[in-house]
């Protein structure tokens, strides 16, 4: 007798329990990187989109998905990479943004992604920024950018000038 194919909503639920390897307070579904789940005959096809092209977590994420699903008894599965549309931090769920904040990472401010168009933005170069990021520790908006890049490709380094704590900002992309 063969096992009954689990319902896809159940598979989505399982994946919502798989933590991101770099930021374990949020899950793969919170991040919005699972783009599709379908059964092709008896094979489960999981479509995943990378956050950043060179994110070192990508291969770990694939391994974690496979391990989790095999743990739930899925014998045949295939992972597919989908590049388009490219991942955007807009896909991070509202609940996940709160989890990030509670963990000490300021969530992305939608609509502020770098577009590489420097005209009119030169004035905000050299450290000044229009972006207002609230300190995830004390809530103050008196914060400043230290570097556009942080401990992982998806984060920038900021500091709070009130409580003086440095913090990560999950940048908008």
């Amino acid at each position: 007798m063969t096992a009954v194919q689990p319902d896809l909503s159940e598979v989505w639920h399982w994946l919502s329990q798989v933590p991101d390897p770099e930021i374990p307070v949020i899950s793969l579904t919170d991040l919005g990187i699972i783009r599709d789940l379908v059964w092709e005959g008896d094979t489960l096809v999981v479509t995943v989109t990378p956050t950043y092209s060179g994110c070192p977590a990508t291969s770990i994420i694939n391994l974690d998905i496979e391990t989790a699903l095999r743990g739930h008894g899925i014998g045949k599965l295939r992972l597919e990479r989908q590049l388009s549309p490219p991942w955007t931090s807009d896909w991070i769920t509202a609940a996940a943004r709160e989890k990030l904040r509670a963990y000490g990472i300021a969530p992305p401010v939608d609509g502020t992604a770098a577009d590489g168009r420097l005209a009119g933005r030169i004035s905000r170069l050299a450290g000044t920024s229009n972006l207002v990021i609230a300190c995830p520790r004390c809530g103050s908006t008196r914060t400043e950018k230290i570097s556009q890049f942080g401990s992982t490709p998806c984060k920038a380094s900021w500091r709070c000038t009130d409580c003086l704590e440095p913090f990560d900002y999950f940048k908008c992309i």
Partner: protein, 255 residues
Amino acid sequence: MAGAVDQAAFVEWLQRIGDNALILGHRVSEWCGHAPVLEEDIALANQALDLIGQCQLWLGLAAEVEGRGRTADQLAYLRDAVEFRNLLLVERPNGDFGQTLMRQFLFDAFHIELLRALKSSADPRVAEIAAKAEKEVAYHLERSADLVVRLGDGTAESHARMEKALKSQWPYTGEMFLDDAVDAAMAQAGIAPLPSSLRPAWERTVSEVLAEATLAHPGEAFSHKGGKRGVHTEHLGFVLAEMQFLQRAYPGAVW
């Protein structure tokens, strides 16, 4: 697709864009553990990571189009210098932090224009890699432009170093905009823009940032060239010796 694609030219073109990302990514990664401050060290490592990730996508597609069963890794690790197609600019030694930053800025300003144009490539695989990479490179350009301004319009020492960096990197920028038969074939097929068409937008960005950085625009200058057809400076061999050592010494080694 707009026209029939010359497959050999397509592979050649994909190697050019992939090799630019690979060699610059490797150069930038050489700073890991050596940058002037921790934040810059992390930023450089992250940029290197973005570039190497993009290189995997481009060389992966090159291998697929080539259809000889090679992989992105094999293209990266098992070709010799004459088979590399990157611009001479990206193989230039890192020099001091100012030279690295100036090289990055001059390249980023070109890279973003190229990727923007490629988003409407007739080949959807090219368009989707470009759309992904453009978002990352927008951050690279903002950062490198920011630092060129800070250091150019900084202390007497930093200004002098940026001036020297600009002077030494500038003769390597002309190659970015030279069109050849491969570029013509790609433009004909609607896959990629002619490099020369990207120059006006690049020139605008560069002029604006150099002015803000109080650095004199070098104007017209002699252009070194050859990288796009495999004629490299002596520096590339040293890059490859380090980058390819493991796969050459232990063929097929995997993690």
